[in-house]
Symmetry: C3
Subunit: 347 residues, 3 copies
């Protein structure tokens, strides 16, 4: 709505259902993206470090999400959720990623200041194959708070509560060598209901999170502008996601890579100086092939406390006033996802 | 003049007109340089992000300038100006850059503590083609403040006030696709005299600016040594230049790349914690080909205030004591340059 | 000994002599690793910046050491020393590095809280050739401080005090061009006993040292976890080593690359905010071929003081109470190594 050349941007009123955006800027992913990802996260998942040139699924996610920011979420007040996220085609070094975003739902909030925008996002490679697709919904500011609502009825897409295990896209993995992962646990060793506390705490430095967001050309101003944020730029929510995923390597070393996200919530904000820790609950198990299987996992990233088996940790708590369940103020990310993992007897 | 092995360095007295330096260290530019540049600046100019392997002109600039520091400007007190800067040959991933610097002018200052060194710098690729050339002049310390001036007459080169539009080197650009830039403005949409305020503020973190300077092997001590600088290392002037250029993408999305610099002034220093904003004045317009044109732009990078159309911002102010015009203390960079940009009707 | 999945880790009691570890995670080294190294250190050694694709020996060192951390030194209290370190095969862009670690000695400390683990480490390329090998010994915590010592007799390997010059592995260097190094000193110009003070101080920022450690997938918690370390994460000892080596370029510009480490001591810890300076003592000289020679050098990296020829600097001091010699509290690294260097008359 703002039409000066240097500050063109979309507010809630600018979207309509069916609208499709060709997102800037197409980006080639290279060896350098693999190394930059390791530098920022310390991730050690073997398939994304060796000479095969496979690009980490979370690099693809950050690239695609970053490409949508300029048009979709520059005026987002909150990133509310994800659904039906699937990595469909592996990305290799040299592939060029281009993203489209389609508006699939709109719902004005009762406060008349914001609305919820539902977006179906697809990242494509240079052959036009979809490499990643997902729904997300974000709360976006209206341009004029007092504007008459133009939407008489909300349009909300029907979204699956989870991706079925048989919808996971499994590509013939490279010959898997458990001797070089450092891990002794395979699919068969995990039990539904088990909670895994991962070693490692990671301090978030200002430069780490800003350079991570710039790397994926995410231009949301709140991540960078200390004037706008009273000296506390908000950490891009994808940063604790990748830090958490890197931390979960200790205990899930024989993983093949994240294949789908069923649901995700950025529960509380992260700021410079926070220290992140992660634990994982095993939700579901699914056999896929003689060599391969999938674990449905719930990854919880927390800040400034190291959860351990010794002390109970409540992911959600009942608010003493409202009696509503809400996230523990230490939780920053609650991610429900499918992880591919090697089986003990690999065919 | 200091001749201990580990601290050999040039002072004003060490230069003479006609002297030519082969600058260390030749450097290959790779995909990793493209990614590192994005990581530090967030630049989204499409041509330098896609699979074509073109290297951003400002990467070439920082590489070439960095190579001259060890011999030319290690004892610089100030980087005074640039002139006649032209990118002459595109640089691709895999090219190796080597720099020569020729002393073309010398002028001792009346305080007898410093002098001005005029340098013609050329960056060359592995075929010996000039990829970038420019004049700059720097104020360099003398080794002995009380030394008798050895220069009876200053030698100052004649420099053009600007690069003529017909001297811009235009290479057949890749097929330009405005659908993926996110921009709706073309050459025809800009008016001389127009001021564009660009979205985005960028906070400068200590690690960001130091790793940027190290990346280009700029070894000027003031950028890194907190003891030497009373805890406030000076940010390399190329960093706000690249941050500003990245910020100007919002509003000039259909640009092809910077082609020449007419003049540049580092008006005030930048330190860790400063937040940078940018606006652009349109100075001149020039048609080049049916598909392509050039805008002469004045990019102003400021710190710790977000200029907007709502409030007048004076780039320069009259000092109340001296009555001389001087830069607003918020201005850090004043850059007069030629930008290539797509035409609406591209042939 | 801790057997929850996410915190499996080795303590002193977990090691036995003869045990061999296949270390996670094999890693391909690319152009991006060359650039990331330059970004973190500012290193300007010509051979590792040009188009030949050679990987800096210290990148290889950090990669190999980082790979051993998960199994060997996660519970290290101190990294005590190195011996017989030799780079045996040059590493090129595209090589994949895999590391094995063999326990060659064990010695419980008299306090019964820790023990010393001696490890022979070898980094191999994809052909199985050893690219780097070294001994190191680390002080590792016991799982139970009060446990009965299970080692009746310490086993300590016999280690050479230095690598003999004729054991240095010299590969035909690329045609050496002293015109592009910026250096005027060759092998013949250095004298045994000479001390070289190198220009440059480098401030250590939190993000710099953490991203350097993550880059090499070094997962020791003390480098990252501000809760564990009372807000002062310990800088990975390899960071001042690489900063120091980059600083020694001023004065040793015609070097070919580090070829062996005779001994190394991390004398005092480094924390965020420290400023590092380096000086070098020339210990020994050895001719190798008509074009090439070796200097045995002692590199001393210090913090928060800039040593100079003007003031004497004692590397070690006698403690006034114990009368024992110990490191000056400013010294962070004492490295005795062999550097290959060009001869003035290169055959």
């Amino acid at each position: 709505m703002i039409r000066q050349k240097g500050s063109v941007q979309n507010f809630f009123e600018d979207f309509h259902v069916g609208q499709v955006f060709d997102c800037p800027t197409p980006r080639v992913l290279s060896d350098a993206d693999r190394v930059a990802y390791i530098q920022h996260t310390g991730d050690r998942t073997p398939r994304f470090c060796n000479a095969q040139g496979l690009v980490h699924p979370l690099i693809v996610f950050h690239t695609v999400l970053g490409q949508t920011v300029r048009q979709i979420s520059l005026n987002a007040k909150a990133n509310l959720g994800y659904a039906e996220m699937r990595w469909r085609t592996p990305v290799h070094v040299g592939d060029e990623i281009h993203t489209t975003a389609r508006i699939v739902g709109l719902k004005e909030n009762s406060n008349r200041e914001t609305g919820i925008v539902y977006v179906k996002t697809a990242g494509l490679n240079q052959q036009g194959e979809i490499v990643l697709e997902f729904f997300r919904w974000v709360m976006v500011k209206k341009y004029r708070e007092d504007a008459t609502p133009y939407l008489h009825e909300p349009i909300v897409p029907a979204l699956a509560p989870s991706v079925a295990a048989d919808q996971l896209v499994v590509h013939p993995p490279d010959p898997f060598d458990a001797h070089v992962t450092g891990g002794r646990f395979f699919f068969e060793d995990y039990s539904i209901g088990e909670r895994i506390f991962h070693l490692d705490g990671m301090t978030v430095n200002a430069s780490d999170h800003m350079s991570f967001a710039r790397l994926y050309q995410n231009s949301a101003m709140v991540h960078f502008d200390a004037l706008l944020t009273n000296g506390r730029p908000l950490v891009y929510g994808g940063f604790p996601l990748s830090i958490g995923y890197a931390q979960t390597f200790n205990g899930i070393e024989n993983r093949i890579g994240i294949a789908a996200v069923n649901a995700g919530t950025h529960a509380n904000p992260v700021f410079q100086g926070d220290v992140l820790f992660t634990f994982t609950d095993v939700l579901e198990k699914a056999e896929i092939s003689p060599a391969l299987a999938a674990l449905r996992l719930r990854m919880i990233v927390v800040k400034n406390v190291e959860p351990s088996a010794a002390e109970p940790f409540d992911i959600k708590k009942k608010d003493t006033n409202t009696l509503k369940e809400q996230y523990n103020e230490r939780v920053v990310l609650d991610l429900d996802y499918w992880e591919l993992i090697a089986r003990k007897d690999r065919g």
